[in-house]
C-alpha cells in the first residue's frame, strides 16, 4: 500500500504541476514580455550620469489590474532605486516589499542578487522640470517621470516549485533525523540501565493484564511489553521526545519475535496504530504555544477526541488483521512463504 501511496504522491505532483503551468501559459498569467506602466519619482533629484539613483515607484492600481486581469491592488508607492549599467537602466524594488499576485510570483523569479524585484526600463523620459505630484504639498514636490518596466519572463512556476520542495525537504528530513541523536541516546542509555537492573521486567508484570489483549502474539514475559508501556506512558503525558526512543526500542524488541526481515507483524501494526492515533492527555507544547489560554477550553474536547480515535485505531488494527489479504502476509502465519514473495 505504501508503494502506491508514495508513487501516487510523486506522479500526481508532476501531473498537477504540469497542468497548472500549462494553464498559466495559456492564460499568460504573468504577461511575459508586456511592460508594466509606472511613474518614477526622484526624491533626491535625477542625474542621468549616476549609476544608482534612489527612486519611488508608483503603480496605478487600475492599470495594474487591467494588465494582469486581477482584483488585487499593489501599494501606491514602493521604494527602490534606478540602476544604470551597460545593459541599460533597471528599476529595483527594495527587498522585502510586499506585492500582490501575480507580481509576488514574478518577484521570486525576476530578482537581483540581493533579492530585490528587478525590471528593465523599457520607455523612460528623463524628468526635466520640477512638478508637484498630485495630493502632496508643495514642499514635497518631486521629480516625476512616466516609465514602463519589463520583468523577466516567468514560466514553469510549479515545476520549479516541486523540484525545489523535494530538495529542500530531503535536507529537512536528514536534519530532523540527526536532531534526534542526542535525546535518543539519552533515553536509550536509560533503557539499557532499566533492562540490566530489571525495571523493565517489573513494568512488564504490572502492565501485562492491560496490554496482553492488545498484543496476544507477544509472549507474556517479553520485555517488548515493558517498552510499549513506557512508550504509551510518555505519549499520555505529551512527552514526544521520550516516547520516540521508547517506541523504537519496543519495535526492536518486536522485531526479535519477527520471523521475517522486512514485513510488519500484527503487534507492530498495533503499536504503530496506537502511536499514530496519539494518546496525549497533556496537549502538545506546540499547540499550547499557538493557542495560549484558549487551550483551557479545548482540553476536554481533545481528550475525548483522542480517546475515541485511539479506540478506532485499536479496532481498525484488529479488524484489518482479519482481512484475507492481510492474513496471508502475516509473517507469523506463513514464515516460509516470505522468501518467495517479493
Amino acid at each position: 500500500m505504501l508503494n502506491y501511496i508514495w508513487a501516487g504522491l510523486i506522479v500526481s505532483s508532476l501531473l498537477f504541476a504540469v497542468g497548472y503551468d500549462v494553464r498559466d501559459m495559456r492564460l499568460d498569467r504573468y504577461r511575459n514580455g508586456e511592460p508594466l506602466p509606472v511613474e518614477l519619482a526622484f526624491p533626491e533629484g535625477y542625474d542621468s550620469a549616476a549609476r544608482r539613483v534612489p527612486v519611488q515607484v508608483m503603480i496605478n492600481g487600475d492599470e495594474y489590474g487591467r494588465l494582469y486581469g486581477t482584483e488585487a491592488r499593489p501599494q501606491r508607492r514602493y521604494f527602490g532605486y534606478l540602476s544604470t549599467s551597460q545593459e541599460g537602466a533597471q528599476v529595483r524594488f527594495e527587498a522585502g516589499s510586499a506585492f500582490p499576485e501575480p507580481l509576488a510570483t514574478i518577484a521570486r523569479i525576476s530578482k537581483s542578487n540581493e533579492d530585490e524585484l528587478q525590471g528593465t526600463l523599457v520607455t523612460f523620459t528623463a524628468p526635466e522640470s520640477l512638478q508637484s505630484s498630485p495630493g502632496s504639498s508643495a514642499s514635497e514636490a518631486l521629480l516625476v517621470a512616466p516609465a514602463t518596466v519589463r520583468f523577466e519572463p516567468v514560466r514553469f512556476v510549479k515545476i520549479t516549485a516541486i523540484s525545489a520542495a523535494a530538495i529542500e525537504f530531503a535536507q529537512t528530513a536528514a536534519e530532523i533525523a540527526l536532531s534526534l541523536v542526542g535525546v535518543m541516546s539519552l533515553f536509550l542509555g536509560m533503557l539499557k540501565i532499566g533492562e540490566a537492573s530489571g525495571v523493565i521486567f517489573a513494568l512488564v508484570k504490572l502492565v501485562r493484564p492491560i496490554l496482553r489483549p492488545l498484543f496476544p502474539e507477544v509472549p507474556a514475559d517479553h520485555p517488548a511489553l515493558g517498552m510499549i508501556a513506557l512508550n504509551i506512558t510518555a505519549n499520555v503525558f505529551g512527552l514526544g521526545n521520550a516516547a520516540t526512543p521508547f517506541g523504537i526500542k519496543a519495535m526492536e524488541e518486536l522485531q526479535k519475535l519477527n520471523p521475517s526481515d522486512d514485513t510488519a507483524t500484527n503487534p507492530m501494526v498495533m503499536l504503530l496504530a496506537i502511536n499514530t492515533a496519539s494518546i496525549q492527555l497533556v496537549p502538545p507544547v506546540l499547540l499550547l504555544a499557538l493557542m495560549g489560554l484558549q487551550i483551557n477550553q479545548l482540553i476536554f474536547p481533545i481528550i475525548i477526541t483522542t480517546s475515541l480515535s485511539l479506540l478506532v485505531a485499536i479496532v481498525a488494527a484488529k479488524l484489518y488483521a482479519k482481512l484475507p489479504s492481510v492474513r496471508a502476509s502475516d509473517p507469523n502465519r506463513n514464515p516460509s512463504g516470505f522468501a518467495s514473495t517479493p
Binding site: 505504501l2 501511496i5 508514495w6 504522491l9 510523486i10 501531473l15 498537477f16 504541476a17 520542495a165 523535494a166 530538495i167 525537504f169 536528514a174 533525523a177 540527526l178 534526534l180 541523536v181 535518543m184 539519552l186 533515553f187 536509560m190 533503557l191 539499557k192 540501565i193 532499566g194 540490566a196 537492573s197 521520550a242 519495535m251 522485531q255 526481515d261 522486512d262 514485513t263 510488519a264 507492530m268 501494526v269 504503530l272 496504530a273 502511536n275 499514530t276 492515533a277 496525549q280 502538545p284 499547540l287 499557538l290 493557542m291 495560549g292 477550553q297 482540553i299 474536547p301 475525548i304 477526541t305 483522542t306 480515535s309 478506532v312 481498525a316 488494527a317 484489518y320 482481512l323 492481510v326
Partner: protein, 180 residues
Amino acid sequence: MNALREVLALLSVFVVPAILVGFPLYGLFRRVPVYETFVEGAKDGFNVAVRIIPYLVAILFAIAMFRASGAMDFLVDVLNPVLRPLGFPGEVLPMAIIRPLTGSGSAGLVVDMISRYGEDSILVKMAAVMFGSSETTFYVIAVYFGAINIKRTRHAISAGLTADIAAALLAVWIVRLFYG
C-alpha cells in the same frame, strides 16, 4: 476541568525526572555498572537516527512535492462538496488532510487560521482539536518502521488513516457539541 488539567500538568513534569533519576538509582541498588551500561545503550542513538534517514527522506520529499504542486488545494476543492453534508466545514478540511502528512505544516495551518478567522472562532477550535488529538501518521510510520528496516507495512497505513479520519470527524462533531 481545571483540576484535571493541573494534575496532568503536574504529573507530566515528574515523568522525565523519575526516569532519569529513578533508573540509575535503582540500577545502583541492584549493583548494575550504571555508567558503562548507559554508554552501552546510548551508542545506539546515532545508529537509530542514521537508519531512519532514508525512510524519512522518502516520505517527506514526496509530501513536500505534493503540496508544492497545488495538488493539495485541488484535493480540498474536490472533497469539499462530499464532506459538507456530514457537517464538516470546508475551512477545516486542509487541516484534516495535512495533519497525517506533516506536523510543522499543520502547526503553520493553525497559525494561518487564527489570523484568518480569529482565535475565538469555532473553525480554529476544530482545527486545534484535530491538531492536538492526532499524530503525523506518515512520519511515525517512517520513523518506527525505518528504525527496524520494515518495508512491507501491511495494514499499518490503513489502520492509521482510519484513526485519522475518525479523529477529524470527531473533532468537528465534539467541538460543535461543546461550542456549537
